[in-house]
């Protein structure tokens, strides 16, 4: 059953992150290029429609298939296979699943720029990545709240393709969230999402704060103005 679409009112992206995606490491940045980056980032924010869907499924149990642990969830045919996700979700009583997208407008603008202005395309692509990252943070925050409602703690998010969680998880994950109908997300034969600026992930709900889940930047109050982050590092090393 489809959940409700969450709309995220994101009016800024981390400029440091945009620059880092562009390979910036402290080079001299003249006024003209800096202005151009600002302009493209603003355009990305104006055409972007960050949206997402989250759902929570209970953990039904786990089994093993071909020597690989498989986590089964209740009320869905979604299965999470692999050693890395098994250890990430070890002890979880429920699993939050999220999908977010920056929207087809971002995709259309990327295509337009690929045909007309390739410098802007590169910058816009970085801005789009930063935007969908923020949308994913927002969806993760929504899961944190849903966990709290149940008196549980939400771990950090983990996406298909990380570790040995296979990309083949994507079709069922997207179907379970009705992402095609609700968000317009489609999947190619090579399991690539369109719009390309889309993210799927799962996060465990735990009865105790997960010990291995050091709070990431996404949960840090200083993330927007942190100088360490801007230079491409984090306080966690």
């Amino acid at each position: 059953m489809p959940g409700a679409v969450e709309a995220y009112g994101i009016d800024a992206v981390d400029l440091g992150e945009v620059l880092r995606y562009l390979g910036y490491s402290g080079q001299k940045l003249d006024g003209e290029l800096a202005a151009r980056i600002d302009e493209v980032v603003a355009r990305c924010l104006s055409v972007g429609r960050p949206r997402g869907v989250t759902r929570v499924f209970g953990v039904e149990g786990s089994s093993e298939r071909d020597g690989v642990p498989v986590l089964r969830l209740s009320g869905t045919s979604l299965e999470l296979a692999g050693h890395s996700i098994a250890s990430h979700l070890d002890g979880a009583v429920a699993v939050g699943v999220l999908v977010v997208t920056a929207g087809m407008g971002v995709e259309a603008e990327l295509r337009r720029l690929s045909l007309t202005d390739r410098v802007a395309q590169v910058i816009f692509d970085a801005a789009g990545s930063a935007l969908v990252e923020r949308a994913a943070n927002a969806a993760e925050a929504s899961l944190v709240a849903q966990a709290a409602d149940r008196g549980l703690y939400c771990g950090t998010r983990f996406s298909p393709g990380y570790g040995d969680l296979p990309l083949e998880t994507q079709p069922v994950l997207l179907a379970a969230l009705d992402a095609g109908r609700l968000l317009g997300i489609t999947l190619s034969d090579s399991l690539l999402m369109s719009p390309t600026k889309s993210v799927t992930a799962v996060a465990g709900f735990f009865e105790r704060p997960p010990t291995d889940a050091r709070p990431g930047c996404s949960a840090c109050y200083a993330r927007e103005f942190c100088l360490l982050r801007r230079s491409g590092r984090t306080c966690r090393g």
Binding site: R118, V119, S188
Partner: protein, 829 residues
């Protein structure tokens, strides 16, 4: 593509309609009630999220029939089969399309409804050009469903929840060409009144009903109140019945359960308003239950279909924009995308580097064009392939509808078949051969068509002669059911310098066509009139004004010509189209005839006024200045500086002593890390502006800036990331290589074909995902077989030197500058 249209037979084929009542539904004289949600009901019965609901037709037919039966009992005329996602791509190995449709139709029939509608939902993949699924592949998925549903005994089709007009079109064509059952097509819109891909209700209605949908409509996504303003916009643009199947409001999650917030009474009140507006087919979508359908039944039984007001005007559209002309309005078709007599455009079409074409499209739109003519007619190219690629790429840069300009019917058909919208075809003429080849294409694909007043005897000299040819074309079009407002007659301008009676004959012919063939529109390519005369724009503009006065509807002109747009804009004041002369006053106040008057629709300012902080950028020596400006990445000043260099030096000096050394320095800085990516690209772009100036200076210089050899590049099959590839292309072009950019998601055979055809010594392949690295290996393997002489360089985020070796490449390039080094090694600098 499927076989070429079986011409007249297909166009005129009758629908197989179940009974007389359904015929009156399709004539708009009777209501039809569909069922409500299937998915919501299945989930309420315990379907797990992510499972394929269609398989239940096979594994649990009783459950599916029980849902259908509940809707029939509630009073639904039609039940919709549980086949929304039953295409070969989604079903995979789980079941065959045929067995699912057989079972699904049987489940539906068992509920004893009046009619069974076979449900076709989206493929689940995004179609080209934005996505990787080819139009023809989408068509094949739908065609298999259509054949299966027809064989299983459905009464009609419902194609629904479409957000991509191209996909809706593929589905409708698949049904039309594989079944003679009626088809309803419904799209889904978001709160902003557009589908996820930007299509409006007007565009959907016009395109799909022109193509022969038996009913069009709106379903899913929104509640009934939100649908009302959208269906109001849709109704005037189609003469066929309109369907609405709204959700029971917007979903929200309560205690982990999805609930919909619009109850039966509120739902039915909104439906009643829509019936009053002229909607005749209703039902329900997500969240609706048999209770909603029962209430709609009661509503329909107490009412009769309301009268409709459908527009009768010339209208064409692209996927996002509809352009229409009411009586008395005039329109501008931009003529610039045409290689005839344009050397640079010819080169662009030959090389596949379409920047110039995209630039022309943008400039014409900005100058006021409302439709863009697209012509790819060059003898030595594959016109069909180039036309299709141009049409796809133009959709990325402009929302203007296109006019497909070709003489070969096969080229026209290939282009209009997958065009997401209603295009204009240019053209048919009075020759028997042309009439029988082109008009059926216009009819089958629902296009408007330009008819040239010439036939086997040439262009008649008199207006009566032209009228006679026009009449012949219109009679044929009438017979094929092409509406009069979709036929646009071109009375053909002839040179006044050779025959001064010609202009009057043309104007008389326009008047005669408008008078004698009511409903038909006229179009004219104006510029021939001034052939052989000096200062042609003046003659063209004067004649254009006279033609408007005679009743001309559409002018094919160069909208970037100031004088032509002056004539258009001022005529619109005189005709009353520009109400209160608002546009004219806003744009022409303060205008004089002085040379260099500022351009009307806001041309790009050429020179960047930003001051520079670099010393060299202010140097007296233009060569020094150009080098510094390239390093600063400032295009417009580089162009100026290079123009100055050329005043005292030749092209080779400007290339080898100015631009190339500057680019080398950019590359060094990038490698050392003192430049980052956007700086590298801005510099490449600035250098390109310099090369453009050199190229434009003399044809000899043009040769000097290229000719170092051909490099074929692309992103491999399955991968649509093209940023890295685009950066590489910019750099290689700067260094003077002929870069053939095949784009993204390119099948191995295409790479091999092009490499062989051009005998390219170097091929560059890019892949950004591990899942597409095998496609890279496959491409290289094919190249080794078919083009053993060529070297292959690979790059992309996931690649490493080890991967490169594994896939069999000759070179691995970690970034664009390294690719340029490798090109230098293979082809010479």
């Amino acid at each position: 593509m499927a076989e070429a249209v079986r011409r007249d037979e297909l166009v005129l084929r009758r629908r197989r309609v179940a009974d007389a009542d359904l015929s009156s539904v399709l004539a708009g004289k009777r209501f039809l009630l569909f069922d409500g949600a299937m998915g919501t009901q299945l989930q309420a019965r315990g379907l797990a999220a992510g499972e394929l609901p269609e398989l239940l037709c096979l594994t649990n037919p009783g459950e599916v029939t029980a849902i259908h039966t509940a809707y029939v009992t509630a009073g639904a005329d039609v039940v919709t089969t549980n086949t929304f996602g039953a295409n070969a791509a989604k079903l995979g190995a789980a079941a065959s399309v045929e067995e699912v449709f057989q079972a699904a139709v049987a489940c539906a029939r068992a509920a004893r409804p009046r009619y069974v509608a076979a449900d076709l939902g989206p493929t689940g993949q995004l179609l080209a050009p934005m996505g990787p699924l080819a139009f023809d592949d989408a068509y094949e998925l739908f065609a298999r469903q259509a054949r299966a549903a027809d064989a299983a005994g459905a009464d009609l089709f419902i194609i629904e929840t479409m957000s991509d007009l191209a996909e809706a079109k593929a589905a409708l064509l698949a049904v039309r060409e594989n079944s003679d059952l009626p088809a309803v097509v419904s799209m889904t819109f978001a709160e902003d009144g557009r589908t996820f891909l930007g299509t409006t209700p007007e565009v959907a209605a016009l395109t799909l009903s022109s193509m022969g949908a038996d009913a069009v409509g709106i379903n899913c996504s929104l509640g009934p109140s939100e649908v009302i303003p959208l269906v109001e916009r849709m109704l005037p643009w189609t003469s066929c019945p309109v369907l609405v199947q709204a959700n029971a409001g917007l979903p929200r999650v309560e205690d982990g359960v999805t609930v919909y917030d619009v109850g039966v009474d509120e739902y039915v009140a909104a439906v009643e308003r829509m019936l009053g507006m002229g909607v005749t087919i209703v039902g329900g979508c997500c969240g609706t239950t048999p209770d909603y359908i029962a209430a709609e039944r009661a509503l329909l039984d107490a009412r009769r279909p309301a009268p409709r007001h459908v527009r009768d005007c010339f209208a064409v559209c692209g996927p996002q924009r509809l352009v229409s002309l009411e009586a008395g309005q005039v329109g501008v078709i931009g003529e610039r995308i045409n290689p005839t007599g344009k050397r640079r455009m010819q080169e662009a079409l030959r090389s596949g580097n379409h920047d110039l074409v995209m630039g022309e499209a943008i400039a014409q739109e900005r100058a006021g064009a409302q439709i863009l003519d697209v012509n790819a007619g060059l003898p030595e190219i594959d016109e069909r392939a180039v036309m299709c690629r141009l049409v796809a790429e133009l959709q990325g840069v402009t929302t203007l509808p296109l006019q497909i300009d070709a003489s070969d019917p096969a080229v026209i058909e290939a282009a209009v078949r997958s065009y997401p919208g209603k295009p204009l075809i240019n053209s048919v003429n009075g020759k028997g051969e042309s009439l029988s080849a082109v008009l059926p294409i216009a009819a089958h694909y629902g296009c408007a068509v330009v008819g040239l007043t010439l036939d086997e005897d040439g262009i008649p000299a008199t207006s009566d002669g032209r009228l006679a040819v026009a009449r012949k074309i219109v009679t044929e079009a009438d017979a094929l059911g092409i509406p009069r407002h979709d036929v646009v007659i071109d009375c053909l301008a002839m040179a006044a310098s050779t025959d001064q009676t010609a202009p009057r004959a043309i104007l008389d012919a326009i008047r005669a066509v408008k008078h004698e063939l009511p409903g038909v529109r006229t179009v004219l390519g104006v510029s021939n009139i001034s052939f052989g005369l000096p200062f042609r724009p003046l003659v063209n503009a004067t004649f254009l004004a006279a033609a408007f006065s005679a009743g001309l509807d559409l002018a094919i002109i160069n909208p970037e010509s100031r004088r032509m747009m002056d004539a258009v804009d001022s005529w619109r004041v005189l005709s009353g189209e520009d109400a209160s002369a608002r546009f004219y006053v806003e744009h022409y106040a303060g205008r004089t005839d002085a040379v260099g008057a500022p351009s009307l629709h806001g041309d790009k300012s050429l020179a960047s006024q930003a001051p520079s902080d670099g010393e060299g950028a202010r140097s007296e020596d233009p060569a020094e200045r150009a080098r510094s400006l390239v390093l600063e990445g400032r295009s417009a000043p580089v162009a100026e500086a290079v123009a100055q260099v050329l005043e005292s030096h030749d092209a080779l000096y400007a290339i080898n002593e100015v631009l190339i050394p500057a680019l080398d320095e950019v590359g060094r800085r990038f490698e050392k890390g003192t430049f980052f990516l956007p700086q590298l690209m801005a510099s490449a772009e600035a250098a390109k502006a310099g090369f453009e100036v050199i190229r434009a200076s003399t044809p000899a210089a043009d040769a000097a800036t290229s000719g170092k050899g051909t490099i074929v590049i692309c992103t491999v099959h399955g991968d649509i990331h093209d940023i890295g590839k685009n950066i590489v292309r910019m750099l290689l072009e700067n260094y003077g290589y002929d870069v053939v950019d095949l784009g993204r998601d390119v099948p191995p055979e295409v790479v091999a074909d092009e490499t062989v055809a051009r005998h390219a010594p170097l091929v560059g392949l890019s892949a950004l995902m591990t899942s597409t690295v095998p496609a890279m290996a496959e491409t290289i393997k094919l190249l080794r077989e078919r083009a053993p002489w060529c070297k292959v360089v690979v790059g992309g985020a996931v690649l490493t030197p080890e991967y490169a070796q594994m896939v069999g490449a000759d070179f691995y390039a970690k970034d664009a500058t390294e690719t340029a080094h490798i090109a230098g090694e293979v082809l010479g600098r």
